[in-house]
Each structure stands twice: as C-alpha cells, then as structure tokens.
Amino acid sequence: MATTTAPGPVRPAGRPAEDGPPSRRRRRGVRRSYLPYLLLVPAALLELGIHVVPMLVGVWMSLLELTQFHIRDWSTAPFAGLDNYRVTFDLDSATGRDLLHSFWVTTAYTTLSVGLSWMLGLAAAVFLQRPFKGRALLRTLFLTPYALPVYTAVITWTFMFQRDTGLVNHALDQLGLVDGANPPFWLIGENSFVALLVVSVWRSWPFAFLCLMAGLQNVPAELYEASAIDGANFWRRLRDVTLPMLRPVNQVLLLVLFLWTFNDFNTPYVLFGGSAPRQADLISIHIYQSSFVTWNFGLGSAMSVALLLFLLVVTAGYLLVTNRRREHA
C-alpha cells in the first residue's frame, strides 16, 4: 500500500552509451527498458494475489448481507447495497458508537506507541553512536524483543500482568508502589490500555532503534566536528545535525510504525484472549469481533474497507506533506 517507487528505464552510470553499432545499441536499449518491468512482474503478481484481489473481494463482501446463513454459498447472500456502511457509520446505534469509540482508542494508542517507540529508539541509537566497551552487547540486548516470536512474547506478558500471581504486581509491591493487599488489575478495566501500550512499545521500539542506528551511520563525523568547533552543545547538535540528517529515515520509519501499530491485531488478541476490555478495544480486534465472533462478515468487511480508506488517506496525506517539505528544504 505504501510502495510509491516505480523505477523508470535504468541507464548504467559511468559507461558511455555510444559503443557498438547503432542497430545493436537500439536492441539493447529496448531490452534494457523492458528488463525492469520484467523483474517487477513476480512482485506485481504476488501483490495482486496477496493484497489487491483479497481487498477487492472484501469490498464485494461489504456490499452483501453475508451472515452464517450464506457463508457456505456466497451467491445466495442478498445484495445489501450500502446498508452495512450505514450501520457502520450510524452513531445512534450501539454498533456505530462502539466503532467510533474503538477508533479513538486506537488513535490514542497509535500516537502514544509510535511516539514513545521513536523517542526510545532515537535515544538508544544516539547514545550507542560512539564506540565504547560493551556497545555490541547492549545493541544485541536492545534488539531482543524484536527477535522474539510475537505470540510467545505476548503470552509471557499476560502471565506477568496477572493480578495475583503476576510479576508486574509483585515487583510494584516490592517497590512499595501498590497496595499488596489490593493490587491493581492490568488485563481488565482502566489499566488495560496502559498494559497494551507497554507491550506495544516494548515490541516496536527496537525496530525504531535499528532503523535510526543504521541512519546514523550515514551522518558524516565532520559535521559533528565542525559543529563542536562552532561551540554547539549536545542538544544543538541533535537538533541541527542529527535530526535533519535522519529525516529520510524518519519519514519511512514513522509511516511504517504508524501502519503497523494502527493495524496491530496480535498484541491485543493474545493479551486479552479475543475479547478486549472497552478501554483497550483496538479497531482490528473490534472488526474481528464484529465479523468472526458475531458471524456478520458483510458488516465486518464494511468496517475493514472504511479502515483501509482511512489509512490510505492518512498515508497519502503524510507522503504528500513530507515530500513537499523535503523539496522545499
């Protein structure tokens, strides 16, 4: 969805195009102009089969009254027109209200999770920029959450968040931060949002760290030296050297983190066992509940299409704004 690059004909650099007789040159030119497209064919076919076709099927499903009575033979499902969308956006109905609530929860969750992950990733990348003893070890350690399988990791978190027997409450109790006789819940009620956020940031900040660390390799040391000679302190160097040099990395990183987090299904599904508390009712889980659990696939598809359109608009708007800013810069 976010791929925007479509390379045109490639001209090899550093090699004069004039060598060889004219006819051969032209043939090679034709071959060269086809080659990139040929190379893109497998990717395009897979993209079509894995993303585009299912999306179109989803759009079709959203126009049907596809319930348990019709899932075995879709051709029997009555055409519903825009009825599913009407229910989705009807804020007077419980379904529409809950979807809107879920949308706000997801927006808050995504903003906080992406923001915190990015800040943690940047801090770690900057502090690990200069060589020191144990740097390799710290790098490896920081990347561990990213390398762990999602399900296993989140199941471990559910154990840690349990009220009576969980490690989190035990540790907080030892530190005197909670009342040991009446410890807080993490998997239900108000705190479930915090629990979800913690797991999400824990999982995604190593990715931000990895990207920013790679980006920092490309910042020439001379820039720092020059700014140090000019008397710039740490914050000044961060603001005027590091961040501008990281802009291309940040542009992609923030977009990818946003899309992953907004669509995140695994974390809440494993953490809350399929029925998330209202305070942590992310949109992906909400759509799952509205289709698989209540067997109303038409309605679920309508919600999915709405989500898809929203993410498309946000992505396009983001790319437009950031690209324009880069051109102006």
Partner: protein, 426 residues
C-alpha cells in the same frame, strides 16, 4: 532470469494450491476432536487406541486432530465457509443450531439416523440439543454433561457446615463463612464469555427470563434477565465471596483455584477428572446440584443446568459419507460410549449403557439426575453463538466493574445487556 523468477512464482502458487484435504480415497477420514481431557496430549492418548480399533474393524484410517476450545468455533466456521476441512467434527452442542443454519453439516434425518442405530438409542434431552426444533438434527450427541456444585469437604467440615447449600441464600451464607485470608467461598471464570453465558441462561431460567422470544428475536434486557445476571455478578460485587481476581480468569484458573484449595466451591461441568489431573484426590471434594433461589421469583423455572455436552457432526463436503457415518456409529456404540465417557467423567449420550457401573460414581449420579430432571437446553436458535459471545462479554465487563469496586446497579446491567441486544440486530 525473469523467466526463472516467473517459474518460481508459478511453482509457489502451485504449492499453495495443493493444501486441500480431499484425499478422495474411501479409506481415510479426518476428524477434529474437541479438547475434553486435562490436555490435548491426554486426549490424543485416549482417542488413538479407539481409532485403531475402528481401523481394524473397517479398514478406514482416521487422522485425528484435537482442537482447543478457543480455536474450535473459528476453525469450524472456516471449514464451513471454504468447503475444505475434516470429514467428522466434534461441536459444542450449544452451537448446533448456529452451525445448522450454514447448511455445512449433513442433517441426521430418520433415514440417516437409522444407519447409525436409530433415533431411539439417544437420550432425548441430548438429542434435542443437536439442532433447531422441528428440523432434522445437525449432529448427534456424543458426551453429555451438566453443571453441578463442587465443594471442598474438608473446608466445609472445618467450618462446621454439614451439607452443601441447596439455595443461593445458603450458598452466600456458606461462602461468607468460608471466605478468609487466602481462601474464598466460590471461584468463577469471570473473563470467559462462554462460561458467563451458560450461567446467564441458568439464572435467567430460575428468575423467569428468556433470552429469545418464540419468534427467535433476542430479549436480553428484560427485568427478569437483568435480575438474573445481577444475582450472579453480585456473588462478587455484593456478597464478596468471590475473589475479585476471578474477573480476569479465562483459562480455567477457577478450576485450578478449587483444586489448589484457594476456593471452597465451584460451579462446573464434570470437573472431577480435571481435579484429579491437578493432584486433588476424589475424597477431598463432594458434588451437589446447582442451587435454586429459596423462594422462586414469578415465572421462575426449576432449571439448574443447561443440557451441556458435545455433539459429533459430519461436514456435507465429505467425500466419504459412508465412512463418516460408520465412524459416528462406532463412536456412539455402547462399547465406545462406556470407554470414552468413563475416561472423561461425562455421561453417555445413549440410553443403553446408562446403568453401567462406570456411571454410578457420586459425581456421575448427580450429573445424571440433573440432566434427567432439571436441565434445559440453551435456546436452539441460529443466533445462539452470538448470544454466548455478546452476553458473555457484557458479563465480563460487569465482573471487571465489580472487581474494581464500582457499584453494579440494575441500570448498569440493563444498559450492558441492551447494548448486546442492539448488536444482535445489526
């Protein structure tokens, strides 16, 4: 190079296509069993010798997969949608009418029933929970279960309590006596929607409520249902005989709490084999019917359990219908009914073996009496599985409120049930 890439893509696509389950041969069947024992592994070890017997008798090999409850309904739904999947499946009997509506299961009309030994073999109440009334059943009963009240005999004796409670008022009083540091009167599975909805049904019956009217329309937020659900939640919210932590229980932690002497009472189906697996000896616990209100509310019914159980069904997409019917006949035969139900602590679904000594233990006697006299099937309507999810989830939220000290009022219960009902309509 591009051609090579294309070829790779084509072969990858071909690999993706070859995953269908249609062996075509009449000599194999695939079977999804539900998880009945303490673990998936236990079930495999229990079922495999029986499947080997079936292969010896008929030459048909059965490929077994034991599916955990958390996945079973989704897997069935996927199989029903795609027309690809196993030949024979176990289903929770409360889903019968919902799955029947998909037409993905073969109907057991009289002729089909005759091929597996006839309609009269089966316990009528169990067969009634295998599909909507007036239609041929979508499955046949395999294991029968009912809810009972399990109690810790030693804790009762220590507190000077002579007999298990027969009314909710007595249960609350007993629970209060048994609630002290590190020990609670009752354990509940507060974050498990299916468990919650089963109790909603039973309490609803006792308080004179119905979850669906005669036309099959949901009637969730009637005063009777509100009072019934509130009575159940109040065991934690008002009576304080349930540990607030139970509000986050969804992985059978309440059974573990009972087996580990953290709770004195538990409402569960055939829990005995599970207690044993967790190291609690059969002498330690007793079993009694689920209580009733001391004075029945107007319209209240004498029901203290749903007709619980597991049904066995055949997918209409099977290419080996004869083999599948032979297998269902085998699983519901007298010999297999005794062996399997004895292992799982459940009751046979056929009348012919109910007198077998295997089912005369105190636990099975109580379950049998409840099933025979005071159990009722959950509403056999296509929307039943939605009822379990929506009402069960609403109750999960109510437990969460109660656990965090919020006052659970009738208005709040009514609001939550009302929202659940609205979602049924959309």
């Amino acid at each position: 190079m591009a051609v090579a890439a294309l070829l790779t893509t084509a072969s990858l696509a071909a690999c993706g296509d070859s995953g269908s389950s249609s062996e075509g041969a009449a000599k194999t069947l695939s079977y999804w069993a539900s998880n009945q024992g303490a673990s998936i592994e236990f079930d495999k070890q229990t079922l495999q010798p029986e499947l080997d017997k079936f292969e010896q008798q008929t030459g048909i090999k059965v490929n077994l997969e034991v599916v955990p409850w958390s996945d079973l309904l989704n897997r069935l739904l996927a199989a029903a949608t795609s027309g690809k999947g196993p030949d024979v499946v176990n289903i929770g009997n409360t889903w019968s009418a919902s799955l029947q509506a998909t037409n993905a299961l073969i109907p057991f009309d009289d002729a089909t029933l005759a091929r597996i030994g006839g309609k009269d073999r089966f316990v009528p109440a169990a067969l009634a929970a295998a599909g909507a009334p007036g239609k041929p059943p979508a499955a046949v009963p395999l294991y029968s279960l009912a809810y009972a009240l399990y109690y810790n005999k030693k804790m009762f004796a220590d507190a000077g309590i002579a007999a298990p409670p027969a009314t909710w008022e007595e249960l609350v009083e007993t629970g209060r006596k048994l609630t002290r540091a590190g020990q609670w009167g009752l354990a509940v599975e507060g974050a498990n929607p299916a468990e919650n909805s089963h109790h909603a049904f039973t309490f609803g019956q006792q308080w004179g409520g119905e979850w669906f009217d005669s036309a099959g329309k949901p009637t969730f937020d009637t005063p009777q249902n509100v009072a019934a659900v509130k009575r159940y939640i109040d065991l934690m919210a008002v009576d304080k005989i349930v540990n607030p932590s139970n509000a986050e229980y969804a992985q059978n932690q309440s059974v573990a709490d009972f087996a580990n002497r953290k709770a004195a009472m538990l409402l569960w189906q055939a829990a005995g084999s599970n207690f044993k697996a967790q190291g609690m000896s059969p002498e330690e616990w007793g079993v009694a019917p689920v209580p009733f209100p001391a004075t029945p509310p107007p319209g209240g019914k004498k029901v203290n359990s749903m007709v619980a159980g597991i049904n066995i069904a055949i997918f209409a997409h099977t290419e080996n219908r004869d083999g599948a019917l032979q297998f269902v006949k085998f699983m519901t035969s007298d010999a297999e009914q005794v062996i399997l139900n004895k292992t799982y602590g459940s009751l046979p679904s056929v009348k012919t073996v109910s007198a077998d000594p295997a089912f005369q233990a105190p636990e099975q006697k109580v379950l049998g009496e409840v099933l025979a006299a005071t159990a009722a099937p959950l509403p056999q309507v296509p929307e039943e599985s939605q009822f379990e999810t929506l009402v069960g989830t609403a109750m999960k939220e109510l437990f969460a409120d109660a656990a965090s000290g919020k006052v659970v009022t009738e208005a709040l219960v009514k609001e939550k049930l009302g929202v659940a009902q609205q979602k049924m309509g959309s």
